[in-house]
C-alpha cells in the first residue's frame, strides 16, 4: 500500500489569516473554533475539579474555606455543563460532520452557525467575568431563594452568561434540524442516514424545546434578584419548588443533550470496528427519539424530597424507569453488533469499550435513584455525584474522545500515535473508575455532597478518589499533546484510514471547503460493511 499524499488544497489552507477564521462561514472551521474554545473551558472546569479533590484528601477543611469550596463546585458544574458538555460533541463533531455525512456543502444557515459561536463566546465571557471577580456559590442548580435573596456572590453575571449561551445551543439545534430535513444528498433517505445524524436530530429537538425554558427561568431569577420581587421567594408568597420544576424541565433533558450525541458516535464506531452493519438500525434510530421524548417527562425525579405530591412522584419514578428502556435498546444493539464481528481494537474502539462499561454502570445506578424509597436514602449524597459523573464523564466524555480520535484523521488529515492513544484510553478508564467508584460507596455510607469536610472514617475512600482524579487528569492531558504533535508530524491519513462506510470517508482528508467536488448520490444502505469488507485505505 502506498502512502497517501496530503491533499494540496483543503479547508484548512483555502484562505489565510486570522480574519478568514473569525469571519468564516465554513462549518468545518467553525467546528474548530468551538474545539479550541470548548477545550479551554474544559481545562478551566478540570482545574476547579482538581481543587475540589485536593481539598477532599483530608477530612478537615484545610485547603479551601467553606465558602471558597462552595464556589469551586459551583463553577466546576457551571463551566463543565454549560460551556463544555453541552457544546462539546454537537458543536464540534456535529458541526464538522453532519453536512459531510449528508453530502451537503454546509449547514442550512452558515451565518447563523458563526453567530452561534459568537454568542457562545459572549456568554462565556460573562461567566468568566463572574469567575474572575469572585465567583458564584449557589451550586450550578441556582436553587431559590438562596440564589435570589441570600447569596452575596456574582449570581447575575453568571446567570446572564448562561442565558446568552443558551441561544447558541438553540441556534445550533435549529441549524441541524433544518439541515437534516432539507439538505440530504439525492438517495440519502431517512433510513440511510448515519445514526450519528439521528442522534443529533434528537438532540436538536431537546435543544429547541428545552433550552428556552431554562432561559426564561434564569431571566425570572435575575429579575427577582435584581428588583427584590418574590416570584420564587416564599417570604413574599412565591414558590421555590416552581423554580425547581422549571429548572429541571430543561436541566434533566440537558443530560440527554450531553449523552445522545455520544451515543451517536458510539453507533458509528461500533459498526466500523466490528466490520458489521449495526444491529437493528431502526431501533437504534428511534431509541434516540424515544430518549428525547421520555427525557422531557422525568424531570421531577430530581425533586422527590422537595415536597412534591407522592402521586406525582410515583408517576415520575415510573417514567424514569421507562427511559432506561431506549437506553438499554441501544446498549444491547451495540453488543449484538459486536457479536461475531471482526473486532479491531484500534484506539477509538478502546474508548468505545470504556464508554460501554461506564455508561452501563451510570445508567443502572440511575435506576437506584429513580426508585422512590432508595432515593430518599441516597439523595444529595456522593452516590448521586458518582452516578451522574458515570453518565456525563464516563459516558459523554468517553464518547467525545472516541469521536475525536476516530474523526481526527478526517479533520486534520493526519494520524496520531496509536500507542499513546491506547494508553490515554486506558488511563482515562482506570483513573475514572478509581475516582468515582469509591464515591458510590461513600454516598451509600451517607457522605453528603457539597461539604468541604467529612468524618475521618471516610478518608481512605476519598484519598482513593483523589488519586484516581490525578490519573484521570493525566489521561485527559496526553491527547492534548499528541494530537497537537500530530498536526505537524503525524502520518498522512488518507481518505479512509479506518475503512469505514459513509460519505464522510469518501471525500478527501481534510476535506475541501465545499466538502465534495460534486454532489454525491447515495445508492448504498448504511453500514454496508459486508460490501466494504476489511478494506482499509
Amino acid at each position: 500500500m502506498t502512502t497517501p499524499a496530503y491533499p494540496e488544497l483543503n479547508y484548512l489552507n483555502a484562505t489565510h489569516g486570522i480574519r478568514s477564521w473569525l469571519l468564516t462561514k465554513d462549518h468545518k472551521r467553525i467546528a474548530l473554533l468551538y474545539l479550541i474554545s470548548v477545550t479551554v473551558f474544559f481545562g478551566l472546569g478540570g482545574m476547579f475539579a482538581g481543587l475540589i479533590r485536593l481539598e477532599l484528601t483530608t477530612p478537615a477543611g484545610d485547603l479551601l474555606a467553606a465558602d471558597t469550596y462552595n464556589k469551586m463546585f459551583t463553577m466546576h458544574g457551571i463551566v463543565m455543563i454549560f460551556f463544555f458538555l453541552i457544546p462539546s460533541i454537537p458543536a464540534i463533531l456535529g458541526n464538522f460532520l453532519i453536512p459531510i455525512m449528508i453530502g451537503a456543502k454546509d449547514l442550512a444557515f452558515p451565518r447563523i452557525n458563526l453567530l452561534s459561536w459568537y454568542i457562545y463566546i459572549i456568554g462565556g465571557s460573562f461567566t468568566l467575568y463572574a469567575i474572575v471577580v469572585g465567583g458564584v456559590d449557589t451550586g450550578w442548580t441556582f436553587y431559590t431563594p438562596y440564589s435570589t435573596s441570600a447569596s452575596n456572590t456574582n449570581v447575575l453575571p453568571t446567570g446572564i452568561g448562561i442565558f446568552i449561551t443558551g441561544f447558541s445551543s438553540i441556534l445550533t439545534g435549529l441549524n441541524f434540524i433544518v439541515t437534516i430535513h432539507r439538505m440530504r444528498a439525492p438517495g440519502l433517505t431517512w433510513f440511510r442516514l448515519p445514526l450519528f445524524v439521528w442522534a443529533h436530530y434528537a438532540t436538536s429537538l431537546i435543544q429547541i424545546l428545552g433550552t428556552p425554558v431554562v432561559a426564561i427561568t434564569v431571566l425570572m431569577l435575575a429579575a427577582e434578584r435584581a428588583f427584590g420581587i418574590g416570584i420564587f421567594n416564599p417570604a413574599l408568597g412565591g414558590d421555590p419548588v416552581l423554580f425547581q420544576h422549571l429548572f429541571w424541565f430543561y436541566s434533566h433533558p440537558a443530560v440527554y443533550i450531553m449523552i445522545l450525541p455520544a451515543m451517536g458516535v458510539i453507533s458509528e464506531l461500533v459498526a466500523c470496528f466490528s466490520r458489521k452493519p449495526i444491529f437493528g438500525y431502526s431501533f437504534v434510530a428511534f431509541s434516540s427519539l424515544a430518549i428525547a421524548v421520555f427525557g422531557f417527562l422525568v424531570w421531577a425525579h430530581h425533586m422527590f424530597v422537595a415536597g412534591i405530591s407522592p402521586y406525582a412522584a410515583m408517576v415520575f419514578s415510573f417514567l424514569s424507569f421507562a427511559v432506561a428502556i431506549p437506553s438499554a435498546v441501544k446498549t444491547f444493539n451495540w453488543a449484538a453488533t459486536m457479536y461475531k464481528g471482526a473486532i479491531w481494537l484500534a484506539s477509538p474502539m478502546i474508548f468505545v469499550f470504556g464508554f460501554l462499561g461506564l455508561f452501563t454502570i451510570g445508567g443502572l445506578t440511575g435506576l437506584f435513584l429513580a426508585s422512590l424509597g432508595t432515593d430518599i436514602h441516597i439523595h444529595d449524597t456522593y452516590f448521586v455525584v458518582a452516578h451522574f459523573h458515570y453518565i456525563m464523564v464516563g459516558g459523554a466524555i468517553m464518547g467525545y474522545l472516541a469521536g475525536i480520535h476516530f474523526y481526527w484523521p478526517k479533520i486534520t488529515g493526519r494520524m496520531y500515535p496509536e500507542a499513546w492513544a491506547k494508553f490515554s484510553a486506558l488511563a482515562v478508564f482506570v483513573g475514572f473508575n478509581l475516582t468515582f467508584f469509591p464515591q458510590f460507596i461513600l454516598g451509600y455510607m451517607g457522605m453528603p455532597r457539597r461539604y468541604h469536610t467529612y468524618p475521618p472514617e471516610f478518608q481512605v475512600l476519598n484519598v482513593l478518589s483523589s488519586a484516581g482524579a490525578t490519573i484521570l487528569a493525566v489521561g485527559y492531558s496526553i491527547p492534548l499533546i499528541y494530537l497537537l504533535w500530530s498536526l505537524k508530524y503525524g502520518k498522512v491519513a488518507g481518505n479512509n484510514p479506518w475503512g469505514a462506510t459513509g460519505l464522510e470517508w469518501k471525500t478527501q482528508s481534510p476535506p475541501l471547503t465545499e466538502n465534495f467536488t460534486e454532489t454525491p448520490i447515495v445508492t448504498e444502505e448504511p453500514y454496508d460493511y459486508a460490501r466494504q469488507g476489511a478494506h482499509v485505505g
Binding site: V178, P212, I216, I229, G237
Partner: protein
Amino acid sequence: MVQQKESVTLGMWVFLAQEVMFFGGLFMAYLLYRVWYPAAWAEGSQELDVMLGGINTVVLIGSSLTMAFAVRCAQLGQNKATRNWLLLTLVLGLVFVVIKGFEYYHKFEMHHIPGADFVFHGPNADQIQIFLSLYFMMTGLHALHMLIGFGILAWIAGMAHKGRFSPEYYSHVEMAGLYWHFVDIVWIFLFPLLYLVDRVHHVG
C-alpha cells in the same frame, strides 16, 4: 432557490417553537399562582386599564391585517404597496408601544412597579406584587419582541423600497409576517389572562 426558501420557512417555524417554550415558562408561573391566589389575581387584574388594553388589542390585530396585506403584495411583486403596508404595520406597532408606555408610566406613578418602591395596601399585597411582576415580565418581553419586530419591518420596508421583491423572491416578507403574527398571538393570550380576570364581578 426553492430549497433555500423551504429551509428558511422550516427554520422560522422551528424558531417560533422555541419562542413558544420561551414564553411558556412565564405562562407556567402565571398558571400556578392564579390557581393559588385567585382573589389576588382578580384584584390585581382590576388595576390594569382594560380600555387601553382593549384598544391595543384592536391596534395589534389591525397590524396583523396590514402585515398580511404586505405579504400578499410582496407575493404579487408589488414593491411599493408592500413598502406602504409594512410602514403602516410599523406605525400601528408604534401606537401599541406608546399606549403600553402610558400604561407603564401610570403604574410607575402609582408605585405599582414591583420591587423596592412597590406600595399596595390590603391583605393581598404580596400576591398582587407577584401578579404585577408577571404582568411586567410577560408584557415587557412581548414589547421587546415588538421592538425587534420594528427593526425587521424597517429593514424589509427598505428592501421593498429598493424594489427587491418579486413573485419568485419574497420570503423575507413572509418570514417577517410569521414573526409578527406570532407576536400578535402572544398578545391575544396575554390580554384576557392579565386584563380580564374575574371582570364579571367587578364591572368598571
